[in-house]
């Protein structure tokens, strides 16, 4: 062969093949997608943080007044002379209502999910699955109004008080996050390999022992993720909670006295404030607190998950 043909052949052999180029292209666009999401997350976090922190830097509110104060009325001062930007009632309200709702929802959700996957998979798939998916779509507004017309009178008649309060909020949130937790738990249970169950049964374990000691244990990370997502939804839920919790920026005195959450105060107050004013900045600080609290919940659950799960 002549020198020229040699060179052409060599360059053809040294170029990346079409498949390799496709591979690099594919890897690049999936990386780009991930980076886009990261960009969005970072920009929202930076935005909320910058607006939230300006309460402390621009408007000179002390951290103590914000986190330990119990009166919320930004723009005015409390009887003792401090600026009334106490977020403690809302923080406690959010905490209580999320924890209680998750506590009530988790056993129901896991029970249902186990029923759907282990005990009656056929009935589960045909019947329960579409119903659960349907419930995720009911808008918060509708839940809120059903809460207002059904849950609040119920709580009022059975537990006393005006019916508005943390208990009503818990009931409404419990129904709202139930489908989310069930769905994701079902996915987690389904991804436990079949041979785990088969091995357990072959060893003579009963169905319940298999479920309790093998399936649930190995699906624990997935179940914990489901609970985190459920709590995240409960946390960030504004419209429905707002209508049944009463929105009184008071320290919650009981489960049936009007209280407020970070989200309910944020939603109802945002439209009446002007960008850049103290009232507005204070609301963004509430949003920042929401961010931090969800981060805390997140880390907590992952910590628990690492301790309790099977090592694969």
């Amino acid at each position: 062969m002549s020198n020229l043909e040699n060179k052409k052949l060599a360059s053809q052999l040294l170029k990346k093949s079409k498949t390799a180029r496709y591979e690099r292209f594919g890897r690049l666009i999936s990386l780009a997608a991930l980076l886009l999401i990261m960009l969005v997350v970072v920009s929202i976090i930076v935005f909320v943080a910058s607006k939230g922190i300006s309460t402390f830097t621009n408007d000179h509110i002390s951290l103590k007044d914000f986190f330990l104060g119990t009166i919320w009325n930004p723009g005015t001062n409390t009887p003792s002379g401090h600026p009334a930007v106490g977020a403690l009632p809302m923080i406690i309200g959010s905490f209580l209502v999320t924890l209680l709702a998750a506590l009530v929802a988790t056993p129901f959700a896991i029970g249902t999910a186990v029923y759907m996957t282990e005990i009656s998979p056929k009935r589960g798939a045909k019947f329960l699955q579409p119903v659960i998916e349907l419930l995720v779509g009911i808008p918060s507004v509708v839940y809120g109004f059903i809460g207002l017309s059904v849950v609040v009178p119920f709580v009022r008649n059975v537990f006393g008080g005006s019916g508005f309060g943390i208990l009503s909020g818990t009931f409404v949130l419990f129904v709202m996050i139930l489908p989310t937790i069930v769905s994701m738990t079902v996915d987690a249970l389904k991804s436990v390999p079949k041979y785990y169950r088969q091995a357990s049964l072959a060893l003579g374990a009963t169905t319940w022992q298999t479920i309790w000691k093998v399936v649930l244990r190995s699906a624990t990370p997935g179940i914990l993720t489901a609970i985190v997502f459920g709590m995240a939804r409960a946390f960030g839920e504004a419209l429905a909670v707002q209508m049944v919790i009463g929105n009184a920026a008071l320290m919650p005195q009981s489960l049936v006295s009007p209280a407020s959450t970070l989200t309910s105060v944020l939603t109802s107050g945002m439209g009446n404030t002007v960008m850049g004013s103290l009232q507005n900045d204070a609301l963004w600080s509430l949003a920042l607190v929401l961010l931090f609290m969800s981060l805390f919940f997140n880390l907590l659950v992952h910590f628990i998950g690492r301790k309790g799960a099977f090592k694969k």
Partner: protein, 295 residues
């Protein structure tokens, strides 16, 4: 045997729990449909809304809901899929990756109002799209991405490694294995994730109040040119969706038949989601069978 009776007892309790849940769900759906369906008629479904007289319908809002849903899913699905592929197949298992995953989970717990306000300040004001379908779809995308990415990641992870090794063994590149083998095998999980997030988008109100707007100008259904402002397809027009409409008439409505319109709209919303879910499941199954030659 003690363990057998324990097992039977436990199973009985589980059955009871499932029945409880079904009862709660049945009550909710029953309440919505019984109070709402009597108000739904063909006229209700197609007429535009009236501000202060009786007899308004939800035709335009219904169309807007679907249009926004389709647009938001079109934008978010490729992005979520790409990110899930990278996270699951390519990313190394170090602290950086887990930080990324944590940040995505944090995004999912932000109240929808915050995302809506962010969308308002970014798309409506800064980019000057105004109250429009575009702003709404982009905000919904942001809102939807964490849930979608997470569920896609989980379904990709549940595909056993044997499949991937088979593909590599046949000489396919990694990306080719992913697109031709892993993704089709994970399709049921991906579709159920898409349905879950579609349901949530369809019922979302808080994020759209400040971005897609609360007004639904009359549309000219004969004009399908996307560049005209009164065409249904135009992405720059304000578009009140069904969920936002329910919220609005319950907060600020003064029309005399407002409870009827509200309960009718809720029933239509739930019904639409049901139909959407069932048909999406059906098509998902069909596609899965075709791609993996299961039948």
């Amino acid at each position: 045997m003690k363990t057998q009776s324990q097992s039977r007892f436990a199973i009985g309790v589980l059955k009871g729990i499932a029945v409880c849940v079904v009862l709660i769900l049945a009550f909710l759906l029953g309440y919505i449909f019984i109070t709402g369906l009597p108000n739904v008629s063909w006229g209700f479904l197609t007429k535009p809304a009236k501000a202060f007289q009786a007899g308004g319908g939800v035709g335009i809002q219904l169309f807007n809901s679907f249009y926004l849903l389709i647009l938001a899913m079109l934008i978010s699905t490729p992005i979520a899929l790409g990110a899930a592929i990278y996270l699951n197949e390519y990313a190394k298992d170090n602290w950086f990756t887990s930080t990324i995953r944590t940040m995505i989970e944090i995004l999912s717990s932000l109240p929808s109002v915050v995302v809506g306000l962010f969308g308002f300040l970014l798309f409506v004001v800064q980019f000057n799209y105004g109250f429009s379908i575009l702003s709404g779809a982009l905000t919904l995308t942001i809102f939807n991405l964490p849930l979608l990415t997470r569920s896609m990641e989980d379904s990709l992870a549940s595909v056993s490694d044997d499949q991937r090794q088979g593909g590599l063994g046949l000489g396919l590149s990694k990306f080719e294995t992913i697109t031709h083998i892993v993704v089709p095998a994970a399709l049921p999980g991906i579709i159920s994730g898409m349905i879950l997030s579609s349901g949530r988008i369809f019922g979302e109100a808080a994020a759209l109040i400040y971005t897609a707007g609360q007004s639904a100008p009359a549309l000219n259904f004969g004009d399908w040119n996307p560049f005209n402002i009164d065409s249904p397809l135009s992405p720059l027009r304000p578009a009140e969706t069904l969920a936002v409409h329910i919220w609005k008439i319950n907060s600020e409505g003064i029309m005399p038949d407002l409870t009827q319109v509200s309960s009718g709209a809720s029933a239509v919303l739930v019904l639409a989601i049901l139909i959407f879910n069932l048909s999406a499941r059906y098509f998902g199954r069909k596609i899965f069978e075709k791609m993996t030659s299961a039948k």
